[in-house]
Symmetry: D2
Amino acid sequence: MKYKLGCQLNYSIESLSTFVFNLRIVDTEHQKILQETLDINPEKLTIDDYDTPIVENRYFRVNVPAGKRLELSYQATVDMCHFYADPNEIAEVQPAQLPVETLHYLYPSRYCQSDRLSRLAESEFGSLEPGYSRVTGICNWIFDKVKYQYGTSNPHTSAFDTATERIGVCRDFAHLGIAFCRAMNIPARFVAGYAYGLEPPDFHACFEAYLGDRWYLFDPTRLAPQNGIVRIGTGRDAADVSFATIFGSVNMDKMDVFIDYISDADSQEVPESTTQAIAI
Amino acid sequence: MKYKLGCQLNYSIESLSTFVFNLRIVDTEHQKILQETLDINPEKLTIDDYDTPIVENRYFRVNVPAGKRLELSYQATVDMCHFYADPNEIAEVQPAQLPVETLHYLYPSRYCQSDRLSRLAESEFGSLEPGYSRVTGICNWIFDKVKYQYGTSNPHTSAFDTATERIGVCRDFAHLGIAFCRAMNIPARFVAGYAYGLEPPDFHACFEAYLGDRWYLFDPTRLAPQNGIVRIGTGRDAADVSFATIFGSVNMDKMDVFIDYISDADSQEVPESTTQAIAI
Amino acid sequence: MKYKLGCQLNYSIESLSTFVFNLRIVDTEHQKILQETLDINPEKLTIDDYDTPIVENRYFRVNVPAGKRLELSYQATVDMCHFYADPNEIAEVQPAQLPVETLHYLYPSRYCQSDRLSRLAESEFGSLEPGYSRVTGICNWIFDKVKYQYGTSNPHTSAFDTATERIGVCRDFAHLGIAFCRAMNIPARFVAGYAYGLEPPDFHACFEAYLGDRWYLFDPTRLAPQNGIVRIGTGRDAADVSFATIFGSVNMDKMDVFIDYISDADSQEVPESTTQAIAI
Amino acid sequence: MKYKLGCQLNYSIESLSTFVFNLRIVDTEHQKILQETLDINPEKLTIDDYDTPIVENRYFRVNVPAGKRLELSYQATVDMCHFYADPNEIAEVQPAQLPVETLHYLYPSRYCQSDRLSRLAESEFGSLEPGYSRVTGICNWIFDKVKYQYGTSNPHTSAFDTATERIGVCRDFAHLGIAFCRAMNIPARFVAGYAYGLEPPDFHACFEAYLGDRWYLFDPTRLAPQNGIVRIGTGRDAADVSFATIFGSVNMDKMDVFIDYISDADSQEVPESTTQAIAI
């Protein structure tokens, strides 16, 4: 199943500024980049690439002098060939057996204070059947109890706030899902991506939980079909995977994000909601 | 129904210290003080009484010089003649009709941040039938979801914390009940008192909600029969009705609290749990 | 020194709504109301007055049916005859000697968590000379370290946040000043008022501290001359003295606030900054 | 300069439990392990090693059945050969030039909410001369304004709390130093270690800031000489480098930590405070 996606970001630079971008998609077994271009104006800027090990973010840094206008244009064509599984077959893994490199995703992070949510999680989800369906239960809880409303949270809002304030955006939904999973000893990590069908188009946030033998994708917002999410990168929470971290004084003049489905007779997948478990 | 109750508090005074005590019970239509003594050693200390209007706390202030030992002994006999009502007959009162002097008890306070709990309250209690039973529903929620455990909270713990951390003591239970009521536009206030049957004996905290035409008593801890609670005073939250607010450096050497039931052939009431609504 | 002041507030009412307004000025020894009108449309609405004892707020409640448009017009002429004193003559009062009715203003409240700011206050202000000048020191600290910027805080922002985040509006400045004073055992309360010279015109917030034998006015924002502040009311913090507390669903269509100085040959006062201590 | 160090940890296991330990020291250019033993009883337990890339923690996991007693004994001899430099020669590195792998240490983490402390940091440290001495200024600020007192904080306490509450232990001092550095765009990370001279002996926490071309060590507690700190590992904050993360129900029966200086005629270093910059 193919998507064409990308973004256009324009900034006016007031003082010498450093951008760390994280907006290119990753190339994995189940997400193959067919073609990709990144154009940056002015052209002569130096780009420092930084692909992180394990979490596979493709950061790059650009330094832009004062007075300039930065125009960034990214587009890619990707072939998604998701891993699907029967949710009923997917078990939770005890800390005793978890792959050691997943243990970090049990620890609390800036926006996912699982240490403070442990009793709440135990009370709400402790009696659910362990396994994939428990994480589905967590997502259902969030969908039912937290209102999605643009502009209701801010960059400081964390899972601890959202657990009580019950309102937020995709980032807050993801943080709460992650915090609840970690509180139940299920490794969970933040996923930034492009999402087909999001209206209006924007970067999207959801999360992955480690179950069975891999990271499965969950989106408590239900705003896009799961197989319409193309991954940019992962991290402990939004602090790790901002599409742009900026040091300096700039104004954003334009931000367009797009993702289109390319119909393809060869693929059996189409963008649609599924009750299957899905992994990228 | 008669109780004999009181306390013994001893302190060693390191520097000139000011105590504001709030431990004498109030005399109301339904709570008649039959006899009362307050002994303070050293005897020659000046006692400034301060009975607050409306909320009826009987504060008193004592200044004690450095090096002294303060010994306070209070005991009273009280005749409780509770107002009982059928819970099914007690309605909520809309802000449009509430007595104006109760409106303050809709506002958030230090430990009851009802402004931040409004969506949670609406989500959990918004669909309950309005009336006395809704407050019962709030108390049941707290009893079911919050663990009572001594030593798990501290003087800074507030309803916003307890809503998520789900553990605390009577003061935290009361704060959460108050915050939820206010979030539902039901006036609620903190009650400090002596409680028959509390084990170990201690000062107790619960709350009152304004319903129908008066303040009804609620205790989400279920640690004492409702008609075993003798009121010291009320306030917006624990900040108002500490049994002792101390300015200076002192050590508490002793704190004994007691309350005994005096069996009385004339009274039809005995200390027992009730499903009736009860007011002091 | 005379001012003419008032406000025009218009609302569209979506559902039956209850307003509790607190926007009329108080009449005190130093603030004499010469003339006052309050017009409310539709005219036939019932107005419940509620003047609080001690804190002297002149609340009034109005219930407005769905579909109506509420138009409120208030204007008053006031003669301010401030109490002035030499700051060097004004001492702090120890808890041992404070009037008992001021003790409540030592306790923490929703937006002024003095209990959590005690060590910060002691560290920053503990070595300052006790007295009026210490509160001036607190105000200077706030003015120097906290940036005034419209739109940077929200109704949940408290002194605990502002102490660290160092940005806010008049309400946040007042809350921080109050919290610091209480942490130093100086009673402090929130003041809502009209303020001459405020640009753009709006309701204003500052605070009073109890020193010597009365409540003195402090405004850490320095946005208006102290003798240009006309008091609406006081409370523990903003939770008590909102100009409009609204139950129901309404839209504000208009909000105009004004205050004009009436030049007056008979008065020796003119609106101006002063280094004198000032009380209303 | 040689140290012999180690620990003895005993636990009673109530239910099948998983331990992730992080208490072995790392072997680096400036910290050479001469000899090391790790004894675990019962002997037949499986030990899963997990050495993290980059941050160099030597985690290991042990699963212990219910009813057992776990006895862990670790000891090592280490030769420290610190890198010393003249503080005046060490510059800050701008985000534009920072090694890309240090950028993550600019982001906020669970206990170091640098995003919420940016204005405070700018206000307190923004006018200090950039460079090593600015971080010294941050440490001095913490040492001067935060009281070190055992038992005053808890596992949930974060830099945001400590900035205001001004009391805590080594972990809190480190978190605040890290948060301030990150808020000033200086990469900073948490260091767990053994510390010579600590009284009573315990695991220690301090931090490193990236300056010039490496990570320099800072300890705002001043409780141990800087060259007496032997590094176990580093992380974003304490969430990453707990000496023991435990899943299950256990009781700690014993915890002894020791570190002894081995006098050595061949080394020019002795444990002592220094005004030099120091790196491990």
